[in-house]
């Protein structure tokens, strides 16, 4: 397929996934605050920190109050990673490839965008947050379901799948990172009721509470980390996401398992192997934050590899010599 089309499909799917995860981020924070209204631990600031755009936030909002952070992450048209902005980007990408996705997927993308756009004007994210975040998640699920059910699962679909799984892997690790930090201010809190509430909220934020219970039953920090990073069956666990991403990439390139033809495949394969052969004790011993930091750097470099391998527009001469090298 056209490189440009592949790139747009990939980003369309990534942005939709990003919108969904933003909704999950904020939703879990709101729930935590409901559960522990008197907590002295700042809940909103870490959310801003995970975006990496603290400067923009400080300049335009100042204080990290709930209202400010919610507005910043949902309806700020000037902030390029708000739900509204990523929806706009998803739609612009979708528009450039609407001939390559199904009409149904395009229509849902439109409906999703129009919903977010209209609700941004009426501040629904602040006035009825639970409705708003539920709807954003529903729209994202609907969109993904329509993609799966109406698009042929050929290269185009695999680029979409790759995009959404890379994004999800990154975001699940971030949710874990930021909540690990806020939920474990001191070792004394471990094992308290507050702690339980907190971790169940984290699991709920990735729709993982029930699935976690089926596997581990009791709430233990290590097990939550194990579940969200290393579980092979839970669809939002990092390990699951990377396996799916690797499968899609192989479907695109035709490479055999345990082989690679380009930087993206090599990096993805090696990260997947790393996760496959580690355990939660090793992760915790090394320091979860450090581990996640490292994980995110690797996920980013896979993203760069995908860009260089499949999307970058190279001059004809270079591409020719590259193709010859590969052949």
């Amino acid at each position: 397929m056209l490189s440009r089309v592949a790139e747009s499909i990939y980003w369309m799917a990534r942005y939709i996934e990003r919108a969904e995860n933003l909704a999950r981020f904020i939703d879990v924070t709101l729930n935590l605050i409901l559960d522990q209204p008197t907590s002295q631990v700042p809940q909103w600031e870490p959310l801003v920190n995970t975006t990496g755009d603290e400067e923009f936030f400080k300049k335009h909002y100042g204080v990290a109050s709930g209202e400010n952070v919610i507005r910043f992450l949902t309806s700020d048209a000037k902030y390029s990673n708000s739900i509204l902005s990523v929806l706009r980007l998803a739609r612009e990408n979708g528009r450039t490839v609407r001939e390559s996705i199904s009409s149904e997927a395009w229509e849902e993308l439109n409906e999703f965008y129009h919903y977010v756009n209209a609700e941004a004007k009426s501040d629904t994210a602040l006035n009825s947050p639970s409705d708003y975040f539920r709807n954003v998640k529903q729209h994202a699920h609907l969109f993904n379901g329509i993609l799966d059910a109406t698009l042929s699962h050929d290269a185009g679909w695999h680029f979409a799948n790759l995009g959404r799984l890379m994004e999800r892997a990154d975001k699940t690790s971030r949710i874990l990172d930021v909540k690990y930090f806020t939920l474990l201010p001191s070792a004394a809190d471990v094992g308290t009721t507050i702690d339980d509430l907190g971790w169940s909220a984290v699991l709920r934020s990735v729709s993982g509470f029930e699935m976690y219970r089926r596997r581990f039953r009791s709430l233990r920090v290590k097990k939550v980390v194990d579940f969200l990073i290393l579980d092979r069956a839970f669809p939002r666990a990092v390990q699951f996401c990377l396996s799916g991403a690797e499968w899609s990439m192989r479907e695109i390139t035709g490479s055999q398992p345990l082989t690679y033809r380009n930087a993206a495949e090599r990096r993805l394969g090696s990260l997947k192997a790393e996760l496959a052969y580690t355990d939660v004790y090793t992760i915790i011993a090394r320091g979860l934050h450090q581990f996640i930091d490292d994980l995110q750097t690797k996920i980013n470099s896979i993203g760069e590899g995908i860009h260089e391998t499949f999307f970058a527009i190279r001059p004809v001469e270079n591409t020719q010599s590259q193709l010859q090298k590969q052949a």
Binding site: M1, L2, S3, R4, V5, A6, A77, R88, E92, R95, T96, V97, R98, E99, S100, S103, W106, E107, N110, E111, H114, N117, A155, F159, I252, T253, F310, I313, V316, T319, Q320, L323
Partner: protein
């Protein structure tokens, strides 16, 4: 005022109405629909119109009103009452368009080869020489099967005399056919029964006909066909994407294509893939910076050379715009006589060519009655509508005509026919034109339907979407049952 969505009080005034005859009775093909609408419970029609508007918004058939930042989008206005074309009118239109396209194709081929029409003193040499859209680079080109204009959208109007005239030929990149298909889709779900009972001819086969037309241009059994668009900022982008999607082919931009080893190829995720046929929705001037405008960022350097060697096909062929010149338009009836030896079935609107001294004299003396048009403007620009003009504007046009007579034509102001539209709870007549679409592949085929553009402003004669126009579904009534099975 009580909303009244029935036609009991509809006033066709002094105009030709496409749905009602001069006695105010529904025309034959419109009866089922009119009865159906009259029988709807109050408020129902309005609800159906809003359902359609919502569907169009969901389908993303929109344009942005002001700055993307604000995100305010509007749909292209669509009116729920269809325009109905009676079977016997359509037979004339269809035969007339086939004849006209055949003659125009012969003309374009002639212009870029022997120029017999000039040798025979039918078209003055100066007029051709000064046609802005004449492309010297196309001289001697031999497109596959001798077909130049594969896709045409001809603008027709009906005058108060009830006759149908050709207003304009669009042989470059006529747009609007996607609206024909989408309008039909939403109307079918709004009036399924009336639609069925009215024996409306289907339009759904257009994308596969278009595919066949394009496929015919390549000797290959399964050619790689692409639609080429200037990109998402083009006002017709929606249509480019729609047609590519419906045909199941790639939609490409100039930057996706590259000339390599004498062929046009596209950049894909696994290397370069050869392209056989390009349905280009981008003007001649921009397709190849090496042959045409050097500053074009949209085109593909070297494309024309590949085309000249016959290694890629283009639809429409470069150079067809020469027949869109409004002065050359005036000669189409003569072309039909010259190339085909036939009398034109569809007449031109009577046209004064300012280059001819006696025509010019008449035009200058009657500027207040005539519509004056520049030879190479489109979209309702560069026009003087005499009866609605000021003395100052007429003076200005008189000067322009005298300074450059070759560049102007004039036509009488026509009373375009009307169709009812829904406004503020009742029906009023509005002026319309009709753009049918013609494909020239193995044979010439006219899509039984077309884009009815309607001037939504009361009294306005300008139907262009850039100037407050909307559209309607166009129902061509079948003459026989077999016409329903296409």
């Amino acid at each position: 005022m009580q909303a009244d969505h029935t036609f009991h009080k509809y006033d066709r005034e002094q105009f030709y109405d496409e749905l009602f005859d001069q006695n105010g009775q529904p025309r034959m093909g419109a009866r089922v629909l009119i009865n159906r609408i009259n029988a709807l419970p109050p408020g129902e029609l309005k609800q159906r119109q809003s359902a359609i508007d919502r569907a169009l918004l969901r389908m993303g058939i929109t344009f942005t009103v002001y700055g993307n930042e604000q995100g305010t989008e509007k749909i292209f206005p669509f009116d729920i009452v269809p325009r109905i074309v009676e079977a016997e009118d359509w037979q004339v239109i269809e035969a007339g368009l086939k004849q006209r396209i055949e003659a125009l194709n012969r003309f374009i081929a002639d212009v870029y080869h022997n120029q017999e029409i000039i040798q025979a003193n039918i078209l003055p040499r100066e007029i051709l020489a000064k046609a802005k859209s004449y492309r010297q680079q196309c001289q001697g080109l031999k497109p596959p099967h001798g077909i130049w204009c594969h896709i045409t959208g001809t603008d027709l109007i009906r005058h108060s005399d009830g006759k149908i005239y050709v207003l304009e030929d669009n042989l470059r990149c006529p747009s609007g056919v996607s609206y024909v298909l989408q309008n039909r889709m939403v109307m079918k779900s709004s009036f399924p029964q009336a639609f069925k009972d009215s024996c409306v001819r289907p339009v759904d086969s257009y994308p596969s006909r278009l595919y066949d037309t394009l496929s015919h241009l390549s000797p290959s059994q399964s050619p790689t066909i692409v639609v080429m668009t200037p990109g998402i900022y083009n006002s017709a982008y929606y249509e480019h994407a729609f047609l590519a999607q419906q045909m199941g082919v790639e939609l490409v931009e100039g930057r996706d294509l590259v000339v390599k080893d004498g062929y046009v190829t596209m950049r894909t995720t696994d290397g370069f893939q050869r392209v056989d046929v390009i349905y280009r929705r981008i003007d001649d001037d921009f397709i190849d910076p090496q042959s045409f405008r050097a500053d074009s960022m949209l085109g593909v350097p070297g494309l024309m050379e590949v085309y000249r060697r016959g290694n890629v096909a283009l639809a429409n062929a470069p150079g067809t715009g020469v027949a869109d010149d409004k002065v050359i338009y005036a000669y189409v009836p003569d072309m039909i006589r010259f190339y085909l030896g036939e009398e034109p079935i569809l007449p031109n609107v009577p046209t004064y060519v300012c280059e001819r001294p006696e025509d010019r004299k008449y035009v200058l003396a009657h500027l207040d009655e005539l519509v004056v048009k520049a030879a190479n403007e489109a979209g309702g620009y560069g026009m003087l509508i005499g009866p609605h003009s000021t003395a100052e504007e007429r003076d200005e046009f008189a000067h322009r005509i005298q300074a450059d007579p070759r560049n102007y034509i004039a036509q009488p102001t026509l009373a375009l026919s009307r169709v009812p539209v829904m406004v503020n709870g009742h029906f009023e007549g509005r002026h319309v034109d009709l753009r049918p679409y013609v494909l020239y592949g193995k044979e010439i085929w006219v899509l039984p339907g077309g884009l009815t553009r309607v001037a939504l402003k009361k009294g306005s004669l300008v139907v262009n979407s850039s100037q407050g126009g909307g559209s309607k579904d166009t129902w061509v009534v079948a003459a026989t049952e077999s016409e329903m099975d296409e």
